[in-house]
């Protein structure tokens, strides 16, 4: 049972890495918290559900469409709000409030358009029957989602460390002002990072019905707390840290569900508070924050 919980935890952890990754990228580059991240995830899930029920599109195809569509939404959204936000006195704090407002708008529009019912996709879409991994039976849909998450994380890593734009992105992460002074088009670099972040949330949403069970318009807040816990446990502004945070989160969630199931919902909250208090810079982090 212990081994089973740990293996399932790693599988879930890969998925949670994907959930947190976009939020972390935006925080790292712009020092703002996108509290609407969970709502973009929800929209990704709704898109996958809609594409499947109307056009019969396979979730993998939907994932491709969602990536393109969400980048196209993310770029103008960046230029619309973020530069103005970053000029304000306390952009980190105000970003919480601004994106909370955006999250409310998204939730409201989705509820008006589609009602508040739960939506899900049949797990057989991602393969029938379990896969046996080290003696643990896991649904194929889980493995599939985890693998897709791992690929997305890998692509973000390659983008950041193997492309020119990625190098510029990392320069902006280190110091926005110095990057600006060196002549980097900080706004463009940030806009691309923002677009990627929204797209990552969307992809995570496409796989959400398989891992989380269903999609509801008001799921955003809970997702946000989870995503924030994952990236704080890892390290803010470090994509590899997100992987570590995601796996720690996934494994502890599965252990809680196995041994203390009725208290499992407490976990993200307690983990988040504990890490913030004990090691606010995250497990891999150097000190980056004034307390």
């Amino acid at each position: 049972m212990l081994i089973g919980a740990i293996i399932a935890g790693i599988v879930f952890g890969l998925y949670y890495t994907l959930v947190g990754l976009g939020l972390n990228l935006v925080f790292g580059v712009m020092r703002i918290v996108n509290l609407a991240h969970g709502d973009f995830l929800m929209l990704g899930g709704i898109a996958a559900w809609w594409l499947f029920t109307t056009l019969g599109l396979h979730p993998l195809a939907s994932a491709g469409l969602v990536i393109v569509a969400f980048v196209l939404v993310g770029l103008p959204l960046y230029y619309l709000v973020v530069p103005r936000l970053l000029r304000s006195r306390d952009s980190e704090m105000l970003s919480l409030i601004l994106f909370f407002g955006l999250s409310q708008m998204i939730e409201a529009v989705t509820t008006i358009g589609l009602g508040s019912t739960e939506r899900s996709l049949p797990p057989r879409l991602l393969g029938v029957g379990p896969i046996i991994l080290f003696g643990t039976r896991l649904p194929k849909a889980w493995i599939f989602s985890a693998a897709a998450s791992a690929i997305a994380v890998l692509l973000v890593y390659l983008y950041l460390y193997r492309t020119r734009l990625g190098t510029l992105t990392r320069a902006v992460m280190v110091s926005r002002d110095e990057a600006l002074a060196t002549g980097i088009d900080v706004n463009f670099v940030s806009a691309v990072a923002f677009g990627i972040s929204i797209a990552l949330a969307g992809v995570a949403g496409v796989f959400a019905p398989f891992i989380l069970g269903s999609i509801t318009p008001n799921m955003g807040v809970a997702i946000n707390i989870t995503a924030f816990a994952v990236i704080v446990v890892g390290t803010l502004g470090n994509p590899l840290g997100t992987l570590l945070g995601g796996i720690i989160y996934g494994v502890s969630l599965m252990l809680m569900q196995t041994y203390l199931s009725s208290w499992a919902n407490l976990l993200p909250n307690l983990l988040l508070i504990a890490v913030l208090l004990v090691r606010p810079e995250g497990i891999l982090g150097r000190r980056v924050r004034r307390a």
Partner: protein, 310 residues
């Protein structure tokens, strides 16, 4: 100089008194008591949040945690000890204060970290209270019923008294040395410390006062409503409403949060209850526009022109 200070205090107190009297009279004139009661709740919560955010710069997204703790403090004492309502109110205050003391280490965090951590803390308390394993104690997710102490008029005026006390507290903070020192800490804690202001003491007092107010409001809510669920007592939108009202009007002032509640909660009561989603959308849009174009609230239209707003 002394005269202006006294004039300011008289003006502030006058505004506070006018609001309290108006809410008291309204109960005799207007029949929808629950709506008026909710107005008092939000007037008080917005000012309680003003004490911690307006004066120290800490914005607890999980402010509702204290409200819920107060509601359950009241409910537990009344349910299990069959205590009278006033003892329940004391328990509500104590419950919120205990939670605030437990959460004191959160004040070491800043900005967004503090906001999110306090939200996680409120969620954690909710998960504990609503846990089906604790049904014998808290009734778990099934909610509590406090019909024994139900007293709509008495609880209404108790809520009004809490509002009055909170408004006076804000008036005092705006015009006292202590309130000034808090604002100095908010603007630049290092300089304030060098000038001899005790930073930790100031923040702690503001935090406890703010939590106490939310706890008492939660207690009186439990008393007035008498049947409620953990989902209502720990509803995150309570924090959010209070935050938006405060920011819309303008923090650190007395009038800002009052205006925020009267205008926005007024609109909510006109259009929000029938079609909550349209309101939610308008609300979200309002928040976005506010942050982008008027980050210091309505009162900043005047204060930025050098006019003092009470």
């Amino acid at each position: 100089m002394r005269d202006t200070r006294i004039r300011r205090i008289v003006l502030d107190t006058g505004i506070a008194a006018a609001v309290v009297v108006a809410m008291g009279v309204a109960r005799g004139v207007y029949s929808n008591e629950l709506m008026l009661f909710n107005f008092i709740i939000f007037l008080t919560l917005a000012q309680g949040l003003n004490i911690i955010y307006g004066f120290t710069g800490y914005l607890p997204f999980g402010y509702v945690g204290f409200y819920g703790a107060g509601a359950y403090g009241f409910a537990l004492v009344v349910m299990h000890l069959h205590a009278p309502a006033m003892i329940g109110m004391v328990a509500a205050g104590v419950a919120a204060l205990v939670l605030a003391v437990i959460l004191l280490p959160l004040l070491r965090l800043s900005g967004a970290y503090f906001a999110i951590a306090s939200m996680a803390a409120a969620q954690a308390v909710y998960e504990i209270v609503a846990n089906p394993d604790l049904e014998d104690i808290t009734k778990g997710p099934y909610g509590v019923s406090l019909a024994d102490v139900f007293a709509p008029a008495f609880s209404y005026y108790t809520a009004l008294a809490i509002l009055a006390a909170t408004l006076l507290l804000v008036v005092w903070l705006r015009n006292s040395r202590f309130g000034m020192s808090l604002q100095a800490i908010r603007d630049d804690s290092i300089s304030a410390a060098m000038a001899g202001v005790s930073v930790v003491r100031g923040r702690t007092i503001a935090w406890l006062l703010s939590a106490l107010i939310a706890g008492l409001v939660g207690g009186v809510f439990a008393w007035h409503i008498s049947v409620f669920y953990p989902d209502t007592a720990f509803d995150l939108s309570v924090s959010i409403f209070a935050t938006v009202f405060l920011l819309f009007g303008g923090a650190t002032t007395l009038c800002g949060p009052l205006l925020g509640v009267f205008i926005l909660y007024g609109i909510y009561n006109v259009i929000g209850i029938a079609v909550p989603q349209y309101f939610q959308f308008t609300y979200g849009a309002l928040i976005v526009l506010l942050v982008l174009f008027l980050p210091n609230g309505l009162v900043s239209l005047l204060t930025s022109r050098g006019i003092r707003v009470p």
